[in-house]
């Protein structure tokens, strides 16, 4: 167990002192070995970047060439990418998109509340809640299993047909209601699975401190559960933004419907592309923002270091 002479110490003004911290933390400069190591890492990073750039250029370039040289390209760019026409229909599509946004905000708020309530109900163990637990299970089974378009039709045309006085016939409200009913079932299951992944020891830790069942849920279990299911919840939110358009079958004009109306007049499909871009302009930033928020919160909690 002898300590042999070290080559890594060369090129470095000081040796190891018994009080190494004070000595070398101030006047430390990297050894030659470390400098070699860093230059290798730099070269490796550069090589990585070059390969990535090269392979991207090759793949995207090939795709572009195939697209542009295809026989129908001019016709295609006229019927799908007529930007002058696109600019003309943009206001109408945006106006329709406001419907999607409004419906999404209202529906998402309601879904969050009802979904959480059902998730909590289904994970509770209280004997008094047994019938509600049972009903919640049936509700989830039912509305996850029926295509949403059917739910919209059933609610949108079924409820007015009941002719119950005082009940609305407004298709916008009824359509939103149908969307809420369906999405609550999905979100409740996502939240429930999140709650179930929190290790029982966490609940035990909270209960042992004297927190009640609901206090443990509120302060210990749910915060961890929500963090884990944020990506799938975001999935559902994006799907919701798009699915709000389905209420157009009841006669509401959303972005897709507005585009459809415009293109059926002009026999040009550019409005559809415009609508697609409008949706992407909302969903992509939303995804990036959430990804970053999740990554930050994970980094804050976890110890440093890679593995």
């Amino acid at each position: 167990m002898s300590s042999t002479g070290s080559e890594s110490r060369e090129g470095r003004g000081e040796g190891v002192s018994s009080d190494g911290r004070a000595l070398s933390s101030g006047g430390w400069s990297p050894s030659e070995r470390e400098i070699r190591r860093r230059s290798f890492r730099r070269r490796a990073a550069l090589r990585y970047g070059l390969i990535a750039a090269g392979s991207s250029a090759l793949v995207l370039g090939t795709l572009l060439i195939v697209l542009v040289t295809s026989p129908g390209f001019t016709t295609l760019s006229d019927t799908f990418f007529n930007w002058v026409y696109g600019a003309q229909v943009l206001p109408k599509v945006l106006l329709g998109f406001m419907t999607n946004v409004t419906l999404t905000v209202i529906a998402a708020s309601c879904v969050a509340i009802f979904g959480l309530a059902i998730a909590l109900l289904r994970t509770s163990r209280s004997p008094a809640l047994t019938p509600f637990r049972f009903l919640a299970t049936i509700y989830v089974d039912l509305f996850r299993g029926i295509p949403m378009i059917l739910v919209i039709l059933l609610v949108g045309f079924g409820i007015p047909a009941l002719r119950i006085p005082g009940l609305t016939n407004n298709v916008l409200i009824l359509g939103t209601l149908a969307v809420i009913i369906t999405y609550t079932a999905y979100v409740a299951e996502v939240l429930r699975s999140g709650i179930l992944t929190v290790h029982p020891s966490q609940r035990a830790g909270a209960r042992s401190l004297g927190l009640s069942h609901f206090q443990s849920l509120r302060h210990v279990v749910l915060p961890q559960a929500l963090k884990r299911v944020t990506p799938p919840l975001l999935n559902d939110l994006i799907a919701l933004i798009k699915d709000t358009g389905l209420v157009s079958i009841l006669g509401v004009t959303d972005a897709v419907r507005a585009a459809q109306i415009a293109s059926s007049r002009s026999f040009n499909y550019t409005p559809y592309v415009v609508a697609a871009i409008v949706f992407l302009l909302v969903t992509i930033p939303l995804t990036r923002f959430t990804d970053r928020a999740i990554r930050r919160s994970i980094e804050r909690q976890n110890a440093q270091g890679l593995a």
Binding site: S8, S18, R21, R37, F40, L306, A307
Partner: protein
């Protein structure tokens, strides 16, 4: 115990941001010997082990395994890690796999052993450490001491050149501590091939029994290093004396 160096740490430096965690740490671990790292919490013991297992990127210095520099970025990290095994304070067993599956995972997937061979070897180890009847159980159903022994077996199953033990008894009660320490001791006393080990621990009695060499760290620097009896019973540096006195007062010696 031969005098051939199995692991050599040379002027290791590691900082997290502006905080210097390891400062010019150097020591040699001879083949088949055990080096025990002692020091207060936060002295850099765990970080040192994580550096050796290449879980942290070091800032300077070098680590050699069998004379080969493993901190060289040109070599394959996964290849190196196959030769170094680590046991963690919190066991880090996979809760969704049985004891036997935990042990055979790396041998089958990484070392390409056949399922039968891996099972045979796992059972052999489980028998040797008295855990054979737990082979089909899931980790959460075992006691802490049993879980940690499974973690040690899991590390041994890949036939590592060096075994790193990071405060393996810190999460256990005193009764269970002993069974884990006995397991480690047995590795040391294996006549055919004593395991080369680097052990971070707070158990001074254990350090003396198992350690060939003891290294006292403070503030990320090696304050004193030498034969275990010398460092633990006749420390030269004042800081080592202070530390051991405090440990003694806490009733851990």
């Amino acid at each position: 115990m031969s005098n051939k160096s199995a692991l050599k740490v040379d002027s290791l430096r590691k900082s997290f941001g502006s905080e210097l965690v390891l400062d010019s740490v150097s020591f040699d671990v001879a083949e088949g010997s055990a080096t025990v790292l002692i020091g207060a919490s936060g002295s850099g013991k765990s970080t040192l082990l994580r550096c050796i297992n290449l879980l942290e990127q070091i800032d300077d210095g070098a680590i050699f395994l069998d004379e080969e520099e493993i901190t060289n970025p040109e070599i394959d990290i996964d290849q190196t890690r196959r030769k170094i095994a680590m046991v963690f304070q919190a066991f880090n067993l996979f809760p969704h796999k049985t004891v036997r599956e935990n042990i055979t995972l790396a041998p089958v997937i990484v070392h390409r052993l056949s399922r039968d061979e891996a099972n045979e070897r796992a059972d052999e180890l489980l028998k040797r450490f008295g855990l054979y009847e737990k082979a089909e159980q899931y980790p959460d159903r075992l006691s802490g001491g049993q879980q940690q022994r499974v973690a040690i077996i899991r590390a041994l199953a890949v036939n590592p050149r060096v075994l790193l033990l990071d405060e393996v008894t810190s999460a256990l009660d005193p009764v269970l501590v002993n069974e884990v320490l006995m397991t480690v001791k047995e590795l040391k006393e294996d006549q055919n091939s004593a395991m080369t080990m680097v052990i971070a621990t707070h158990e001074m009695g254990f350090a003396q029994q198992v350690g060939d060499q003891v290294c006292f760290l403070e503030g990320g620097a090696v304050v004193e290093i030498g034969a275990s009896a010398q460092v633990l019973q006749d420390p030269q540096d004042k800081r080592t004396k202070d530390f051991l006195r405090k440990v003694h007062e806490a009733g851990r010696l």
